[in-house]
């Protein structure tokens, strides 16, 4: 990719819309845009003042294209830090295509996916992790994902890592000083203090690493299977959570025969709900297949809700549900039909079930909170703590934490060894921020973008 040419692309989604925006970035952005634009009462080629909105006509070689609003943002006060122009047209695909063609004919090049953001990164306006935040924000499909992505883009995670980096630089200066000035008397920090600083820094990374599990769900969403015996109210619960009559509900046991998948947003979290066939102890042939699929779904889903019928005594099939449920890393036991006399005897003291009544819509809020907690660490819920959502970050943080634990152990073994490990950790930090990168890493990241961003 080349930085010294001028790129252009449509920045809004294809399709009819009130507005469509075209972006231009690069050395010639101003010249190209000014040449095609004629403001009310002006003439083509009139220079544009930076950060001012102009109204006028955009003309191509074959005549006027559209009435547009134009903003010129002079370098470095722009998204890419280069000269940029944004042109708002009417949102018709044909108009936008003509407008872009006019720009291309005047010397711009069609931008590659993510190229604007790549320029913002390469010009040093944002670091690599912030660029990743931009992609995540564009792609965010739920409130939680948007919040996490915004944090990343705005530099929340970068700042956390910068704080760690400063601790490491401090530690390194003490390690190095005692090596390079053995005859000097200045006091370098004692082994114990260096070890503590390193361990503490490793712990901060642990917190970030741990947030990944939740962060992953925030970003990609969470699949949640509901299992239970026939008639427990699984389909009813699905409908209630989705606020939509998605699955058939009836008093006849064995209503649901196949998996039903439905997507929704619960407490800001994107969730794929999976309703399943009831675990009937003596199924017919079709039911048996349904049950097989239900168990498979419970195995592969990120989380499992085991639904029990509170109005009925404990049965053998409930035991199957409980056992299946416990195999899932994230699980919830839920007892339904709290509106009826309760006859269930809960057998497992280690698990405390949530009581609800779908019929009366009772207990659903606490249930939603528990589902949301799958994604956030319960205590971190809604806090300002940054969340790790990308595997790349998680892997880097794991390596840093490992480097730092090793360094802490090495302080007493040999300060030069500890210093080598801290160097390694600092190099990893550079990979996180993009200070050091390879072309492959960059491509992998910026290829995720759509054109125009």
């Amino acid at each position: 990719m080349i930085l010294d040419d001028t790129i252009a692309a449509i920045a809004t989604p294809v399709g009819e819309g009130g507005l469509g925006v075209i972006r231009v970035s690069g050395f010639d952005a101003h010249r190209i845009a000014a040449q095609l634009f004629c403001r009310k009462g002006g003439k083509p080629g009139d220079p544009l003042e930076s950060h001012r909105l102009y109204f006028g006509t955009l003309c191509g070689s074959a005549g006027p294209v559209d009435e547009v609003c134009v903003v010129y943002m002079q370098s470095p006060r722009s998204y890419t830090r280069q000269d940029m122009v944004e042109i708002s047209c009417h949102g018709s695909p044909a108009v936008l295509r003509r407008a872009v063609n006019a720009l291309l004919n005047a010397g711009a090049r069609m931008a590659e996916p993510g190229e604007f953001t790549k320029r913002a990164f390469l010009s040093g306006r944002i670091d690599l992790s912030q660029a990743e935040g931009v992609i995540d924000l564009i792609k965010a499909r739920s409130e939680g994902a948007a919040r996490a992505a915004f944090g990343l883009m705005e530099g929340g995670l970068s700042r956390r890592i910068e704080a760690v980096r400063q601790k490491l630089v401090w530690t390194l200066s003490h390690l190095e000083a005692s090596i390079d000035f053995p005859d000097e008397e200045f006091v370098t920090a004692a082994d114990g203090e260096l070890r503590r600083t390193l361990t503490e820094a490793a712990r901060r990374l642990d917190v970030l690493i741990k947030s990944y599990d939740g962060g992953k769900f925030l970003k990609h969403g969470l699949s949640l299977a509901i299992i239970g015996k026939p008639n427990a109210g699984k389909s009813s619960l699905l409908n209630a959570l989705l606020e939509e009559e998605r699955a058939i509900v009836s008093g006849i046991p064995g209503t649901t025969r196949d998996l039903i998948r439905a997507e929704g947003e619960l407490s800001g979290l994107k969730v794929e709900l999976i309703d399943t066939a009831g675990l009937n102890p003596s199924p017919d042939e079709v039911e048996a297949e349904g049950i097989r699929r239900a168990l498979k779904a419970a195995e592969t889903a990120d989380a499992v809700i085991g639904l029990f019928d509170g109005s009925r005594p404990w049965e053998k099939s409930d035991t199957t549900v409980l056992e299946t449920l416990k195999k899932a890393r994230l699980h919830l036991a839920v007892i339904n039909k709290a509106d009826m006399p309760q006859r269930i005897a809960w057998p497992d003291a280690a698990i405390s079930p949530v009581h609800i009544s779908v019929k009366e819509m009772r207990g659903l809020d606490p249930l939603l909170k528990k589902i949301a907690a799958f994604a956030h660490d319960a205590e971190n819920l809604n806090s300002e703590e940054p969340v790790v959502t990308r595997l790349r970050h998680r892997e880097i943080f794991c390596r840093i934490a490992e480097d730092l634990r090793r360094a802490a152990a090495e302080v007493e073994l040999g300060r030069e060894l500890a210093a080598a490990s801290v160097w390694d950790a600092l190099e990893e930090i550079k990979r996180f921020t993009g200070e050091s990168y390879t072309e492959e890493v960059l491509s992998a990241i910026f290829d995720e973008f759509c054109v125009g961003k």
Binding site: M1, I179, E416, E435
Partner: protein, 621 residues
């Protein structure tokens, strides 16, 4: 007119190595010195080595240079610093008998074929068609040569300061080289100004030796050179004393006559080697600074007080010295002074130390903005090698950062330049664990032999040692320890921790509390000397780290070694900031790696550069 292949101007530590290397590589070489009796003079402290520096001295040794050998002949005390730390950062330091050092160096030079020593002072560089053609001396005599190496140290426009009085000079008792500065400027080179200082020299018999605490050398004394078998002579001790609160008080009373604080000195001093007046100002909370009293020679009565370099007026020097325990009656032989001098900012050199401005002109040593004998000598040998190779029409030698401290230093100097006197530290080397003083031979003897500087006899000695070390490492890696009663007893006797199950010896040796010892469980070590044993131990103990650093070096190597055209015009690359274009045009890096280290380089600038390279390649340049 006398004709030579190579002329070296200046017989300091850089000049000696440069002249020796060029002459040994077969070039008719002239070493031009103002005063033959000042060859290899130690202008400041009588010590060679220390962290970062001993590595350089060992590298010079492995390449076939002189400094380590001469130090071993002239040393009067030898110590290993950081001995409690790991092998990677251990450093030899020798106190040198400065008179014997000069003598030994003169002998080495006299025994070097192809080398003439000419007394005289270089006044002008002679150039023709963008290339050097010789030098003119103060006397008007001209000498011709295809390459000239300037090693004139602190002499370019040198100005000595003691208090507010100033004397032109390159060093106490020696005049400056004023015209040479002008000659360089006329050639288009740009000059900067630096300063450094030295303490008073004290009379041995005026010191009360009962007070300071003696600091003996190591027994046995660790030699500096790979090729010294043993140091036989008796060692002298150094002594430790300290400044007092009273000392600092007296020093403060001299500030109004300090050339440093009154703004008389314009040059930038070394941050890591500050004068005592600097220390008093910068560390007001410290009530005392230590002072090492170091003998200068067996043949005179001078003592060098390390740690109190100063340019305060003489009366203040007398007064503050006498406030130091043990120095109450001290007699000063020579007062401390500071020297200000011109230097040639080294970004004007290629990593061969040849100047970009004028083909065949090389600079080495303090003239390039460094400080220290070892740094000077390291550049000297490299410049000598490259000047000779240029004359002979051979490929230049550029030392990579991952291979030597000399390489790190020259890359730092030619890529980043320096704002203050540059001193080597181990922390400047990112590959410290693989670039140790103990394995400098492994890193550079092959190169030394290949270019013809390292003698065949020494090279064979190196190969034999290498063979012994490798066989020992292999043997240890193949052996096991079993917790038999005999083994456990043997371990206990030799003070080693017990084992509770069968374990590979190499594995066992990686434990921090295990050392490779003779007469223990490690088998018969009679065939190996102590160095072999230490080296084998280091190789095994550091194995994991070395593998890690080597992987890293390999990864870097991919980008590091992409060549850049010397003559490339960076002004033509749009997308690069003007500032970076200028920097690149100034530094003119030879590799992509070098470019990446230029201050202010951003990932963006690097990728623009990379693209530029690729597109040029496609369009056939």
């Amino acid at each position: 007119m006398k004709r030579f292949d190579v002329i070296v101007a200046g017989g300091g530590h850089a000049g000696c190595e440069a002249a020796h290397a060029a002459a040994r590589l077969g070039c008719a070489t002239a070493l031009v010195v103002t005063d033959k009796s000042s060859i290899a003079r130690m202008s400041c402290n009588p010590a060679i080595g220390g962290p970062g520096k001993s590595q350089i001295v060992r590298e010079i040794d492995a390449l076939g240079g002189l400094m380590a050998r001469v130090t071993d002949r002239a040393g009067l005390q030898f110590r290993t610093l950081n001995s409690a730390k790991g092998a990677a950062v251990r450093a030899c330091r020798a106190q040198a008998d400065t008179i014997e050092y000069e003598e030994a160096m003169r002998e080495e030079l006299a025994a070097t074929p192809n080398l003439s020593i000419i007394e005289g002072s270089v006044r002008n560089i002679l150039a023709e068609n963008g290339a050097v053609r010789g030098v003119a001396l103060i006397t008007g005599e001209e000498l011709s040569a295809k390459a000239v190496i300037l090693c004139t140290g602190t002499f370019l426009n040198g100005l000595l300061h003691t208090g507010l009085s100033q004397t032109p000079g390159g060093r106490i008792g020696e005049g400056p080289s004023a015209h040479l500065s002008d000659s360089l400027k006329n050639l288009g080179l740009h000059l900067g100004r630096l300063k450094t200082g030295t303490p008073a020299r004290l009379h041995k018999d005026s010191i009360n030796w009962d007070v300071p605490q003696p600091q003996p050398g190591d027994i046995p004394p660790p030699p500096m050179s790979f090729f010294t078998k043993k140091i036989e002579r008796e060692q002298l001790p150094c002594h430790l004393t300290r400044t007092t609160a009273r000392t600092h008080e007296i020093i403060r009373t001299g500030f109004d006559r300090s050339p440093l604080f009154t703004g008389v000195i314009q040059g930038v001093g070394p941050r890591y080697c500050p004068s005592i007046e600097d220390k008093v100002v910068r560390f007001p909370e410290r009530l005392s600074h230590h002072i090492f009293l170091e003998p200068v020679s067996r043949h005179n009565s001078e003592i060098y007080p390390n740690g109190i370099s100063t340019s305060l007026p003489e009366d203040i020097q007398d007064a503050f010295l006498r406030s130091i325990p043990g120095l109450e009656e001290v007699k000063v032989i020579r007062y401390g002074y500071a020297v200000e001098y011109d230097f040639v900012p080294p970004t004007q050199m290629y990593p061969t130390l040849e100047s970009k401005m004028l083909g065949g002109l090389y600079c080495a040593g303090q003239i390039n903005g460094t400080s220290g004998y070892e740094e000077a000598a390291g550049q000297g040998i490299l410049a000598g090698i490259n000047a000779a190779r240029k004359v002979r029409g051979e490929e230049p030698v550029i030392l990579p950062r991952a291979q030597s401290y000399i390489g790190v230093m020259v890359d730092d100097l030619t890529t980043l330049g320096t704002e203050e006197p540059y001193r080597m530290f181990t922390s400047r080397a990112e590959h410290r664990l693989v670039m140790r003083q103990d394995n400098a031979d492994q890193r550079l003897c092959d190169l030394g032999r290949r270019i013809g500087l390292l003698g065949e006899e020494h090279y064979q000695e190196y190969l034999e040692r290498q063979g012994r070390i490798q066989s020992l490492v292999k043997r240890l890696k193949g052996a096991f320890l079993n917790p038999t009663p005999e083994t456990l007893t043997l371990l206990q006797i030799s003070g080693l921790p017990p084992v509770d199950m069968s374990i590979g010896i190499a594995q066992y040796m990686k434990r921090p509390d295990v050392a490779l010892k003779r007469d223990s469980v490690f088998g018969d070590l009679a065939a190996f000397d102590d160095t072999d044993i230490e080296r084998a131990e280091t190789e095994i103990k550091y194995e994991g780290y070395i593998a890690r650093q080597n992987r890293w070096i390999e990864q870097l190597g991919k980008i590091e070694n992409i060549p850049l055209e010397e003559k490339m015009d960076y002004g033509g690359i749009s997308g690069l900031s003007v500032e970076l274009q200028q920097k690149l045009n100034k530094v003119r890096p030879l590799t992509f790696g070098q470019a990446s280290r230029i201050a202010g380089m951003t990932p963006a600038a690097l990728s623009i550069l990379m693209i530029h390279l690729k597109t040029r390649g496609r369009n056939g340049g």
